[in-house]
């Protein structure tokens, strides 16, 4: 087991290096272009040349990447090309907003999708068909459209919630709850729809196993068969679903932050990309990938812990 954990870690690290290097190469590849964008289109060529040197964009890409990487290890991701603000500092105020959004949604998704997925699989019949239909709808409509529908209904027409803006929890807990309610619901719809459908499939698969029939034949009550044995054996595939859901939520959060004007990581990435602030963009890419890798690693680890075959090996 220790071996597979080490293997997993090594793999995550390799992916991290490969992806950051590829992104870095793309983003920093065109030094004069970046300098031109920073100075504006009317900047004179000699000023652009000076800016290229000042920003360190004249060095070989590998050297630049090495600088960035060794800085990143110590928590220094460079400074914004525009404001001079430290990227780490900017991220440290942005990441908690996005993470709170994603984690709250994820917890609710787990509860709701397990409930709905198990109900659909076990009950069958019209309950199952209704849930399948709703889940197709929920999965198909993009999160930002759901968000706009929510704003239209609850903020503009009924004025129950603020349409946009963010209140930090330090300032007011109730204000914070109000400001994240609609964003969380907007993310939740799609996440639950797709996770419940996948969880239903996992439960149906387990229900069809030989040992479930044998457990029933042994006189064990249906409740115990479902809650002790079927749920336990569907947990593995369920975890995979959650890893994918987290990935989807991180992507969806970018749109949701735009709709509700939340000062999260996605908004930072979007705003920085529009002004060509590459160190900032690079920082958000790094943090996002690290989050994804951590989630996948934890998912794999839990899968190993849950599976006696992998655990006892």
């Amino acid at each position: 087991m220790a071996l597979s954990v080490v293997k997993n870690l090594a793999r995550s690290l390799a992916v991290l290096l490969v992806v950051t290097f590829a992104t870095f190469t793309l983003m920093f590849g065109n030094g004069p272009g970046i300098a031109q964008a920073v100075l504006g289109l009317n900047a004179r060529p000699e000023d652009v040349q000076r800016e290229v040197v000042a920003l360190g964009l004249d060095q070989p890409l590998l050297v630049q990447y090495w600088h960035w990487l060794s800085g990143a290890v110590t928590g220094n991701l460079g400074e914004s090309f525009y404001t001079g603000q430290s990227v780490t500092e900017a991220l440290s105020s942005r990441v908690p907003v996005t993470l709170a959004l994603v984690v709250i949604t994820l917890v609710l998704t787990v509860v709701l999708s397990v409930l709905l997925g198990v109900t659909a699989a076990v009950k069958g019949g019209w309950v199952d068909r209704l849930l399948q239909f709703v889940s197709v709808l929920g999965t198909a409509v993009p999160a930002f459209i759901v968000a706009i529908v929510l704003v239209f209904t609850f903020a503009v027409a009924w004025r129950m919630f603020p349409a946009t803006g963010y209140v930090t929890p330090e300032l007011s807990i109730s204000g914070w709850v109000k400001s994240v309610t609609l964003p969380v619901v907007a993310l939740l719809v799609g996440a639950v729809a797709s996770a419940a459908a996948q969880f239903r499939t996992a439960v149906l698969d387990t229900l069809g196993r030989d040992y479930v029939r044998t457990l029933r034949a042994r006189g064990i009550s249906e409740r115990h068969v479902i809650f002790r044995h079927v749920l336990r054996n569907s947990a593995g595939p369920g975890l995979t679903v959650l890893s994918l859901t987290t990935l989807g939520l991180l992507g969806g959060a970018v749109f949701i932050e735009q709709v509700f004007a939340l000062p999260g990581m996605g908004q930072l990435a979007n705003q920085s990309a529009q002004v060509n602030d590459v160190p900032m963009v690079m920082g958000t890419v790094l943090v996002t990938i690290v989050i994804v890798l951590v989630v996948n690693f934890l998912g794999d680890l839990t899968t190993i812990l849950l599976n006696p075959k992998a655990r006892t090996r």
């Binding site: 019949g125 197709v136 993009p142 970018v254 060509n276 890419v285």
Partner: protein
């Protein structure tokens, strides 16, 4: 999911016609065709240009003359902008599809057909790409290219290509080893022609279905990226129209409805089309369980006493413990029909008797076994009959069935390894089962399980109880399952091919164990098997099944000495020739 390589163009037309006949498929296709048509004709049909501003129409409500859907904050006609925007949507679709299919299908074909190092590398790349948050990369890309939707869509095509890669590779791996590819190899066709003719054909249906979903995702991303402000602000696209309208939602709230509706409906049309396509192309995907109404209808339709005509007389006797009368079982089949697989079977088992139920696979013998335990699959229909345990009808009363199952009638399955829950230790699952049917506390249950495990021939029960199913052998697993069956001291055991999956030496030991248990506890046993050797060795009475009917019933010696039915003779002689071959 194999596709017949000899399918002709006419089957293609048929698939298309079936798609049109389903309301879902026809509606989706109609909407998508409309979008494409509008995209092609908007330069002529759109009421105005995409950026023509009419200040009088600023924030005009819907149904304003000349502006059917109203105007945006700059006075541009929303309907026209949506019509022009459909051009960008269609363009985005073409780019996403071209890039993702070119990369994903090609690499999937190569990886599936040649395997080796390429497959390893492609698998790693596809895993990595699948685990990346695509939208963040698309935003990063914007810093590089500026507002450039086609470039963004091409990158999205690359990011989504792994879904095709995985799909195609898996299909090709399946097809690769199938007979017709082997035959083509033997016939000396070149790899390229094999790929072209056979593999591409097999891959076609899943790729078409997948494309529908990929396009849905592509449209969502195109609209989303434009909505984020990463598109060309001067151009018209659905996402930009949505963004403009959303920014002015307090001035003209209806303006957000149209772009949101167009985007959602188009994505939904593609998703539903994908589902309709997979129903038409892969009909096996749907569950066959009938709705309660259809179940009742089927059962009523089956009632008029057409139960199997000539039933074999069953010897009546006082010590019959389990008796089956007129049992009829059916399953939903393709095309909404219902197929009966057991046609009114009678069966009597006396106390202490080992009753063999023999026949070919598919003759319905396992179905009878499951029915006596009330563990038929959910889609099964019981058309009639009764299962009487000491005179009580278990089929008529689910509560009685529940009370009998595991306590008075127990089950020994065929495949020992797949019948133990892989997530629990042997000890845990045996104790759960035992405590479900007795009032023992956990210490007593443990003691009883140890005792029973010793009885079924496991020498170190304490150690085995701590093991997981994958850590024990098949023979030991079958002993554990037999232990689970006899735990509650039942009157009848239903054993479904209990030795088929075991090694020959272990088979003999397990049969001996069953014989001993039957003798010492006065257990009646229904032994389902296709192995006449087992029958001769163990059974007292034999019922021979064929196509859902019992065709002959006899004491075991009589049956082997003088079989009456032609089918029984045939079965006996074929089994002898198999035995000869095995020697």
């Amino acid at each position: 999911m194999t596709v017949d390589p000899a399918a002709s163009p006419s089957t293609r037309r048929r698939v298309f016609r079936r798609l049109l006949r389903s309301p879902q498929g026809a509606l989706c296709l109609a909407w998508l065709a409309l979008i494409v048509l509008v995209a092609a004709t908007s330069p002529w049909l759109a009421p105005s240009g995409p950026t023509v501003a009419d200040l009088d129409a600023a924030n005009a409500p819907p149904l304003t003359p000349g502006h059917l859907l109203g105007g945006d904050s700059a006075g541009r006609d929303i309907l026209s902008r949506l019509m022009w925007g459909s051009r960008q949507t269609v363009l985005a679709c073409v780019i996403v599809l071209a890039v993702s299919i070119a990369v994903g299908v090609a690499s999937g074909l190569v990886a599936g057909f040649y395997r080796g190092r390429f497959e390893g590398a492609a698998g790693f790349v596809s895993d990595v790409v699948m685990s990346l948050p695509g939208i963040v990369l698309l935003i990063a890309l914007y810093a590089l290219t500026g507002p450039n939707i086609p470039a963004a869509m091409a990158v999205f095509g690359l990011l989504i290509a792994p879904t095709y890669y995985r799909l195609v590779r898996n299909v090709v791996l399946g097809v690769r080893n199938e007979l017709y590819v082997d035959a083509a190899r033997v016939a000396g066709l070149s790899d390229l022609r094999i790929v072209g003719r056979h593999v591409l054909w097999a891959v076609r249906a899943p790729v078409i279905i997948q494309s529908s979903f990929v396009l849905a995702a592509g449209i969502g991303i195109e609209a989303g990226v434009s909505f984020l402000g990463l598109g060309d602000p001067a151009g018209a696209s659905w996402g930009i129209v949505l963004q403009n309208s959303f920014n002015g939602i307090y001035n003209n709230r209806w303006a957000v409805v149209w772009p949101a509706l167009v985007i959602s409906v188009t994505i939904l049309a593609l998703v539903l089309l994908g589902n309709a396509l997979s129903d038409v192309l892969q009909s096996s995907a749907r569950s066959r369980t009938l709705s309660p109404r259809r179940r009742r209808a089927a059962q009523e339709a089956a009632q008029p006493g057409d139960a199997a005509g000539e039933s074999i007389p069953v010897g009546s006797s006082d010590d019959v413990v389990l008796s089956v009368r007129g049992l009829r079982i059916a399953y939903p089949a393709a095309g909404g029909e219902v197929r009966e697989v057991v046609h009114g079977v009678d069966l009597d088992v006396r106390r202490g008797e080992i009753h063999g139920l023999v026949g070919e696979s598919g003759s319905g013998k396992s179905q009878i076994a499951f029915a006596t335990l009330g563990i038929l699959p959910r889609e099964a229909l019981i058309f009639g009959g009764s299962v009487l345990l000491d005179g009580d009808d278990l089929l008529a009363d689910p509560a009685k069935m529940r009370a009998a199952r595991g306590r008075r009638i127990a089950y020994v399955p065929q495949e020992p390894m797949s019948n133990l829950d892989p997530s629990f230790t042997i000890g845990k699952q045996l104790m759960y089962g035992l405590r479900a049917v007795t009032r023992l506390d956990s210490r007593q249950a443990r003691g009883r399980v140890v005792e029973l495990l010793t009885r079924v021939g496991i020498s170190d029960p304490e150690r085995v109880m701590r093991l997981y199913p994958h850590e024990i052998s098949g023979g030991m697993a079958q002993r554990v399952l037999i232990c689970g069956a006899v735990a509650a001291d039942p009157d009848v055991i239903v054993a479904d091919e209990p030795t088929t999956a075991l090694d020959v030496t272990v088979q003999a030991e397990v049969l001996e164990l069953l014989r001993e248990l039957s003798r010492e506890r006065g257990l009646a046993m229904i032994l389902v098997t296709h192995n006449l050797g087992v029958v001769a060795d163990l059974c007292d009475v034999v019922s021979v099944m064929k196509d859902g009917d019992i065709v002959e019933r006899a004491e075991v010696d009589d049956l082997f000495r003088s079989p009456r039915e032609a089918y029984t003779k045939e079965l006996l002689s074929s089994s002898r020739s198999v035995e000869l071959m095995e020697i």
